[in-house]
Structure formats: C-alpha cells, structure tokens
Amino acid sequence: MSVIVFAENSEGLFKKSTLEAVFYAHELGKLVQQNCIAISIGQVDEVQLKMLATYGADQIISFNQTETNTFNAELYAALFANTAKNSNAKHIVFANTYTGKLIAPRVAGILNAAMASGVISLPNLDNGFVVKRTVFSGKAIADVELNAQVKLISIAPNTFTIFEVNKSASIEKLESTIGTEIAKTKSIELSKQVGKIALTEAELVVSAGRGMKGPEHWGMIEELADLLGAATACSKPVSDMHWRPHSEHVGQTGITIKPNLYIAIGISGAIQHLAGVSSSKVIVAINKDPEAPFFKAADYGIVGDAFEVLPQLIEAAKSIQS
C-alpha cells in the first residue's frame, strides 16, 4: 500500500503547489508507514520528474503518450483513479488548484473516497483520521474526520513549508489503458494572462479598494505590484463597479487567498473581505480612516491617504530593487 499523489504539471513543469502536495504525501506516508507514489500525466521530461523524488516521491509513474498529453478531466480522473485502485491506495493527495478542484472530486466519486478539500494540516491519527481545513471562507477552522476506507486530501496551496528530502526514486513509464472516448469535454482555447502573476498562485499581493476613487488610478497599484513582483487584487465593490475584472475580487464571495504578504490599500476591511484574506502570513492595511476594521486584522498599518502613501512606497520599492 502506498500514498498516491497527483503531480499536476503546467506546460510540462511542476509548480510549487505540486511539490507541496508531493512533500505532504511523503510526510503522510511517514505517519501511516507507507511509501509515496507520484503520478504524472502529460508531457513531462525526466529532469522535471526527478524533482518529485527531490521532494519526497519514492516512486514516480509517468503517463506520457499522445493520447494523454492533452489535459482532459474525465480521462485524467479515470486514469488516476484506476492507477490508485491498482496500487490498492488508501490515501490520495491532491493540491487544491483549479485543476485539482476539477479532478479530485471526480476521483473521490469513482473510488467512493472520503474527501476533504482545502486541508491545512497533516492528519491526527490519535482517534480516527482527522484533518484541519478552513471553513466559513476563512472565518473558522474545522477538524474533519474522514470515515471511508479510501481517503482523499486536497491541500490548500501555500500552506506547507517544503524541504528537499532527495530520494532516489525509480521512474516507471506506463501506458494509459483508458479509452479516449471517455473524454467528453473539449478544450477550444486557453487564454492566460501574459506577464502577470496569477492571483491564486501569488506569494505577494497588492490589493486596492474604493479608496482609489476610480479605475484610472490603478496605474500606481500596478506599478507597486510590478516592483514587488506581486499580483494585483481588489475588493468586491471595485469589481462590482467594473473598475477591475471579477477575477481580481478577493473575499468571501470572490477568491480566498493566503499569500505571504497582502497589502490592502483603501479597503476598509468588511468581514466578507477579511474572510478571504485573513490567512495571509503578513497583512498591511493602508487606510485614511483610523477606525477601519482592517487595522484589527493587520500586522502593519498606515493611517493615510492612498495618493500620498503610494508614491512613497513605489519610491522605496525602487530603491530596494536597486
């Protein structure tokens, strides 16, 4: 028996979230005394595959053939579930990315697995199999017991610190036994923002709210974000007024993020907004209202007008860069 982890690739490369999932599977393997098998589906070269061993895989299974090289949720879920079944796996690990969100529940359905998503801890095995996950969009944490024989854990990205463990894993190349007729959805077009850091993956985020007074003032936000290597985000009113795209809206009804640094400029800190960002490691609030609720949730605060503070921050960020 082994812990099986899905090693998601993005255009042939493993992202940090994948390495986090592999490292988690390795740590989980130590707890349940099983080895860790990473499964990669798609066109990934050996150098990349070996990186999975660096972060904890004891064995690497790679499906790399024409039929499986284009991502398809039905096909990938069936192939992964089948491989897990063949290895009699009782513990399955995913990263809770958009791809993970698409495939993992399907895999859980096929295997009748008990699943927890957005998991933020290794399991406590003292009395059952209990993991922690965020609930109420970040307002609370729940201890959830998984009761089925097969358990699927989808871990929250940017939560677990990873280390190199440098195993010497074998790479096994297998061919898919799943017929491609299972693939019902068809990808027509991919559009990725070029030269911008994806908000869901960003370690640093610069976010702004109504305090910016209008979309024409976002240049300063983008300049600061660029200098810091950060993604940009916004509050709900800002996306509702179409100052910024919906995809930038963070909060309870937008996306929940947990970057290392979240800078909130001209956002008061309504409970719904805080829910989506409160797990960030360091929070900075900049607001001209000293009573703004954001200051209660922040590590650093500046009471001041965004238009006076931002130019100073941009200048300081430039000098730190050089």
Partner: protein, 245 residues
C-alpha cells in the same frame, strides 16, 4: 431544455461565526440564512437559458424544513418547481448521493451547482455528482452558451481562462462572473407560494466525513503603525523585519 439547480442554504456573508456545545456545533442563533450566492447565480443563469430556448428549471435542496424560506425565494426568482430532500446536509458525498438518486430518473439536460458553498467551502458536490451520474462536469464556469445540444463555456484556470465545449447532459458549477443575481419581484413572490415544492425522504447513503470540532483562526497580534509621512519605512520593515519582500 430541462435544468436542475442544486441550492444550499448558508449563513449570510455578514455573519460573525461562533460555535456552541464545546465548539462542536455552529451557533445558528440570530443568523440570517440565504441561498448560497454561487447557487443563486447558477439559478439565474438557468432561468436565462430557459427564457431564451424554453424548458423548465427545477431547484433541489438537501436539508431540513428550516431551509424553506430559501427554497421559496428560489421559486420567487423564477424556478418552475422545487424538491427538498428531507435530510441534514453534513457531508458532500451524502448530499451528492441524494441529488444523484433524484436526478438519475429525471433526464436533466444540464445540472448546475455553485462553485462552493460559502460555509463549508468543499467545492466537491459538482464533481462527485457528475462521477455518480457518469456525466462530464466543468467546474467554476464564468460563461455558458447552449448551441443545440452542446454547451460552450469559459472556466477559470490558474492565471487565465479556458474555453471548453461539451455535449449535453452535463454538470457545471457556477463562478461569480456567470451573471448578475436577480431580485424577485412582487409577482414572483406571490407566484412562489403556489408553485410545487415536493418533499422527498432521503435514500440510504453513507456519510463519509464528520466535523469533530471547530476553532476560530488564531488572533493577530497588535498592528504596528507607521506614520504616513514616513511610509517608506513600511517597505524597509517588510524587507528586514517581516522578511516577505
């Protein structure tokens, strides 16, 4: 076009979360419940589709009689009929099994869920339901157009969007951008009172997960204030003290 929309009943977004009975239960006292916002968008989109090309929209909810106000609101917004499976919804797999059991005999062309509920945030029912019904699913969609028996959708991916097509039947989950919510009008509210609301007893299904207890996130320490005239110092502190840049 026969559409099913799965709705859940969740605490209003302004709710301050608290727990009772030794931190094992969510304190519902004084909490206002609403239709899960993503489910409401799903419902609105379903109505837009049937208004254009005909058909019916059924809403299904797994929950106790306490959720009836949300179900009536869904009918007031415009759903044709409603079904409530009379069981507490405590586990995604259990809920998906109930919905799958109902949907299996109904030949829906399209099934909507929300991206996730804003209380338990599992985001699992869409995929579980699709797997149980052996249908394809597309999660987190921001647009959907029906052309004949094919759906063309945009879904969110990390750092962008993917345009995707799939022939019906299909299960999808709604993301924020999909449409704008609708406020029910007086006529809708009146009509909702007499629209059919069927209550069905649950089918036997396992509950695969149980919440043992809850905690509030650890409280933040004091906020270190920096004078606005010396805002530059923030960058230095983030670099040298917090070490995040």
């Amino acid at each position: 076009m026969k559409i099913l929309v799965c709705i859940s009943n969740v605490p209003d977004t302004t709710t301050k979360v608290a727990f009772i009975e030794n931190e094992t239960k969510f304190n519902t006292s004084g909490v206002q419940y609403i239709i899960n916002p993503y489910d409401e968008l799903a419902l609105t989109k379903a109505l837009e589709i049937t208004e254009k090309s005909g058909g019916s929209v059924t809403v299904i909810h797994v929950g106790t009689a306490e959720s009836e106000a949300s179900i009536r609101k869904a009918l007031a917004i415009g759903a044709t009929e409603a079904v409530r499976i009379n069981a507490a919804a405590n586990d995604a797999s259990y809920v998906a099994e109930q919905i799958a059991h109902y949907a299996a005999s109904q030949n829906f062309d399209l099934i909507f869920t929300g991206r996730e509920s804003i209380d338990y945030n599992g985001g699992m029912v869409c995929g579980l339901l699709a797997a149980k019904l052996n249908l394809p699913s597309v999660q987190v969609i921001t647009s959907i157009e029906i052309e004949g028996t094919t759906a063309i959708m945009d879904r969110d991916i990390d750092g962008g969007k993917e345009k995707i097509s799939c022939s019906l039947p299909l299960v999808v989950s709604a993301q924020k951008e999909l449409t704008e919510p609708r406020i029910p009008n007086m006529r809708g509210i009146m009509a909702a009172r007499t629209k059919p609301l069927q209550v069905l007893e649950p089918t036997a299904a396992d509950q695969l997960s149980t919440v043992r207890s809850y905690q509030l996130p650890p409280a933040k320490g004091a906020c270190k204030m920096i004078d606005a005239s010396n805002a530059k110092d923030l960058i230095r502190l983030l670099h040298e003290e917090a070490k995040v840049i």
